[in-house]
């Protein structure tokens, strides 16, 4: 099964451009700044202004030969192909790519979530003929609770354990800023302490207009002062040497994977927070239905179950195994 517009490596033939390529390409359209989608070394990059800013912050100003910024909703005509970016709601600047050619509409979602919140531009539904959707949480066991409930559990635990610090494992880009925003909106206005890996991206979010309140580096803060405080660090750091500097920490992790208790237990997470930047199973189904797509390609996660479901709905569906993407998104950058 092929499409005349897009091949299975997400290569747009007519304009020789790849979407989120895993290896350096002459022309790349980047949906968002996570490392498994945005890589350094492409010739020319087309992306939203926010995504370009993120890439420059992470990889340096010269991480691509040239950048072309394209605002949401503005069609870009290249020969007989029209490219338009629409908000994907996943992280700041994250986009879905609409490709129109010869009356056919193809949408590549990148990573996306349906729930609107203030650290990412809200998802917009884009009707299409072929939908290329992610499936990070493509199993019916994934039914994400509302994030305010989860943040409420964190705030309650902080209040109940004033002598312990709460060490929250979050990916540096997207999840961290979202958790901070949720905490602020939940009424938490004390300084939030950050691992060094988070600082630059939080600064960038603030510059781009996302209010995050007072943030402090956790480095060199005397141990007793961190009792009762919230510290955010990459998941790899919360159980490693870095964590030893905190008083009796409650190890927390914010991720869609945390709904599975045995998984949280294995990861030694004491307070799992089910906060996801992706659609859950119901939202994936909802999106596929609402776009009206007759053909669905599924990538990036648990393809089998979603392909099975699409076919049961009479849709044409195929798994895509794109080189360079994580087979199991659990270790991927942002879940």
């Amino acid at each position: 099964m092929a499409s005349p517009i897009l091949d299975r490596n997400l290569h747009i033939r007519a304009i020789d451009a790849y979407i989120d390529p895993g290896v350096p390409r002459a022309r790349a359209i980047i949906t968002h700044g996570h490392a498994d989608h945005a890589r350094a070394g492409h010739g020319a990059v087309l992306a939203t202004p926010d995504t370009i800013a993120i890439m420059k912050t992470r990889y340096g100003a010269d991480c691509a030969g040239q950048f072309q910024a394209l605002d949401f909703g503005v069609p870009l005509q290249i020969d007989d192909v029209t490219i338009t970016l629409f908000p994907a709601g996943h992280i700041l600047g994250s986009a879905q790519v609409l490709i129109e050619q010869g009356g056919q509409r193809v949408v590549v979602t990148g990573d996306y979530k349906r729930l609107a919140e203030r650290t990412a531009q809200a998802y917009e539904l884009v009707p299409c003929d072929l939908l290329v959707t992610e499936a990070t949480f493509g199993l019916p066991v994934f039914q994400h609770p509302h994030p305010t409930l989860e943040i409420g559990r964190l705030l309650k635990s902080v209040a109940d354990n004033p002598e312990r610090s709460h060490l929250v494992g979050c990916y540096a880009l997207g999840k961290t800023q979202r958790v901070i925003a949720l905490l602020r909106d939940g009424g938490y206005d004390a300084p939030i302490y950050l691992h060094g890996a988070m600082l630059a991206l939080c600064d960038l979010y603030t510059q781009l207009g996302v209010e995050l309140g007072e943030l402090r580096p956790a480095l060199d803060v005397p141990k007793p002062e961190l009792a009762g405080q919230i510290v955010i660090a990459p998941p790899s750091a919360i159980r490693d040497r870095w964590s030893r500097r905190f008083p009796d920490p409650v190890v927390c992790q914010a991720s869609g994977w945390m709904s599975v208790k045995q998984r949280a237990r294995q990861a030694l997470v004491e307070l799992p927070l089910v906060i996801s930047d992706h659609c859950d199973w119901g939202e994936l189904q909802q999106t596929i239905t609402e776009t009206g797509a007759e053909t669905v390609w599924v990538t990036h996660g648990r393809e089998d179950a979603l392909v099975y479901w699409c076919r049961s709905q009479g849709l044409s569906a195929e798994p895509l195994n794109i080189q360079g993407f994580e087979g199991d998104g659990s270790e991927g950058e942002a879940a």
Binding site: P140, V141, R239, R241, K261, Q262, L268, R302
Partner: protein, 538 residues
């Protein structure tokens, strides 16, 4: 139900034993009867909801969820109860879930035909954590890292009653434990149970130290071999046969070869062993049987179980625990004469003149028969549960040691989760190093820090939580015995390995070899028939 679900979640996710205990104590203090009694039953595995089995739950779910999607989900989650809790597609409904005791009553009174509808209704009304707890409650497979003993320890902590006293009455109680809680709360006396038919906490020994011998007179003591099995209590009440582990868990179901072949009435203390004709085989063989809830025909044929009895607590229905050891021993021997046994024998008393003679005997037993050491018992001692000082001693043989090279290190758990604290080490086999065992204790906290930092700077590869390190660091590893093993590439496995010393000074090329290890294989091991060398003068 909400409160119970919160408790289960906290127990499942809190790595700290102290915090688990505190949560249990708080729960048992605050929750009224009979709910806390049912919770106790769930935690100790004594609640049996006969009408709801995992298969029924699965049918209820498969009526609502596509079977293929369910199978894919189960495959991913890996735990049936959790899969059901997460995948249930209907949320809402009216009102809170019933309390724990109301739920048990509901399950016990609902007909088979109505049960699926009742369960579906409950699953829909439940919040996610309650749904998880509900499924755990009905399937019985908790997998939350809480033992029955921890729950009982919480009861002791809550009430100030000794854990032993609780264990002593435990097997005579019934769900939902109202008599127990009345006693623990001080509202009633200790529950009355038939003392001869229940588990009685065991008398334990202390390690003997060199200086002890100076003040102890050998004539006051009896000695026996220290058997390498598991400690058990056999309770023959005239009708029923119960076999309890050291902690009071009933393991009778796994050992029908014993339970079906004993006669008489008594409470006996001894060592559970496996082997033909009362010849004890290796602990590995026993382990095979302990790992199973029910014995297979092959086990019964190849590793028949027996008990080597060394003490008697009740003679018939008479409590003889206050008699001294000599008198109890006489009773025990008389009882065996009156009640001939196929699966029980009596642990022999060793004769020795003085401590030097016993030391020689201990060495000889270790060398020639692989005995772990000797037990030394004060002849005038009553049978006192717990670990009373001055009555029973264990005198283990000196450990074997080998210099082994650190190969892999793994993250620890709980407090040690940020440290590489579990070590796999190996010995030379020609020019390669082959693993012989794993150890995670024997070093100080300070040494752990040094090891952790050494490992981080000498990592050559990472596999998830495991790091492979360059083969440079030598441990002096102590162990009780070596056995043949198909699990390790080296073909050898160690019993009770621990890090004796870290040999920062010793070059890896001077570490032990596989030939050295083969010499540790006792002549008693069946493996010698495979052409392996016997014990070589270690």
């Amino acid at each position: 139900m909400k409160r119970f679900a919160q408790l289960l979640e906290l127990l499942a996710l809190t790595p700290s034993r102290t915090r688990k205990l505190a949560a249990l104590v708080q729960y048992f203090r605050e929750v009224p009867d009979p709910d806390r009694g049912y919770a106790l039953a769930v935690l100790t595995g004594t609640l049996n909801i006969a009408n709801v089995k995992p298969a029924l739950l699965k049918d209820v779910v498969l009526a609502e969820v596509d079977p293929t999607l369910f199978a894919m989900s189960y495959d991913y989650v890996g735990d049936l109860g959790e899969t059901i809790a997460l995948i249930w597609p209907h949320h809402g409904g009216t009102g809170e879930l019933p309390t724990l005791s109301e739920l048990v009553a509901l399950f016990n009174t609902t007909s088979r035909r109505e049960m699926p509808g009742v369960i579906a209704g409950l699953l829909t009304r439940a919040e996610i954590n309650e749904r998880w707890a509900l499924v755990k409650l009905t399937t019985g497979a908790l997998r939350i890292g809480v033992s029955a003993r921890l729950a009982k320890t919480a009861l002791a902590e809550m009430s100030g009653v000794e854990l032993q006293a609780i264990e002593e009455v435990w097997h005579g109680l019934s769900v939902p434990y109202e008599a127990l809680f009345a006693w623990l709360d001080g509202r009633a006396g200790r529950p009355e149970i038939d003392q001869s038919a229940r588990f009685h906490p065991l008398m334990l020994s202390n390690p003997i130290e060199e200086k002890d011998f100076e003040r102890l007179d050998a004539k006051d003591f009896a000695a026996e071999w220290k058997w390498d099995g598991i400690r058990v209590q056999l309770v023959l009440d005239g009708e029923r046969v119960s076999l309890f582990s050291r902690t009071g868990d009933d393991i009778a179901a796994a050992f029908p070869d014993i339970v079906d072949n004993v006669r008489g009435r008594a409470v006996l203390d001894g060592e559970l062993l496996v082997g033909q004709d009362f010849e004890a085989a290796s602990f590995n063989d026993l382990q095979q049987r302990l790992n199973r809830k029910v014995a297979t025909p092959a086990h019964l044929r190849d590793s028949p179980a027996f008990i080597r009895v060394y003490d008697m607590l009740f003679d018939g229905s008479e409590d003889i625990r206050t008699l001294d050891w000599t008198a109890r021993r006489a009773r025990l021997e008389a009882w065996f004469k009156a009640n001939p046994q196929d699966r029980l024998d009596v642990s022999a008393v060793l004769s020795f003149q003085d401590w030097d003679a016993l030391a020689a005997l201990r060495r000889q037993g270790a060398d020639e028969h692989g005995h772990e050491g000797v037990m030394i018992k004060l002849r005038s001692s009553p049978y006192v549960p717990g670990r009373p000082k001055g009555y029973w001693f264990k005198w283990k043989r000196d450990p074997n040691v080998v210099d082994a090279v650190l190969m892999y290190a793994q993250r620890g758990h709980g407090k040690r989760s940020s440290f590489y604290s579990d070590y796999t080490f190996g010995v030379w086999k020609g020019n390669e190093i082959v693993p012989i065992g794993k150890a995670y204790f024997g070093f100080t906290d300070e040494e752990l820090k040094q090891l952790d930092s050494w490992i981080r700077s000498h990592t050559t590869a990472s596999f998830g939580p495991v790091r492979e390190v360059s083969k440079e660091l030598v441990f002096e590893v102590a162990f009780d015995s070596a056995q043949l093993s198909t699990r390790h590439k080296s073909g050898v496995a160690l019993r009770f390995p621990r890090i004796n010393r870290i040999r920062w000074d010793k070059p890896a090329r001077e570490a032990g070899t596989l030939e050295d290890m083969m010499a540790f294989l006792g002549v008693d091991w069946p493996g010698r028939e495979d052409g392996l060398p016997g014990r070589a003068g270690q």
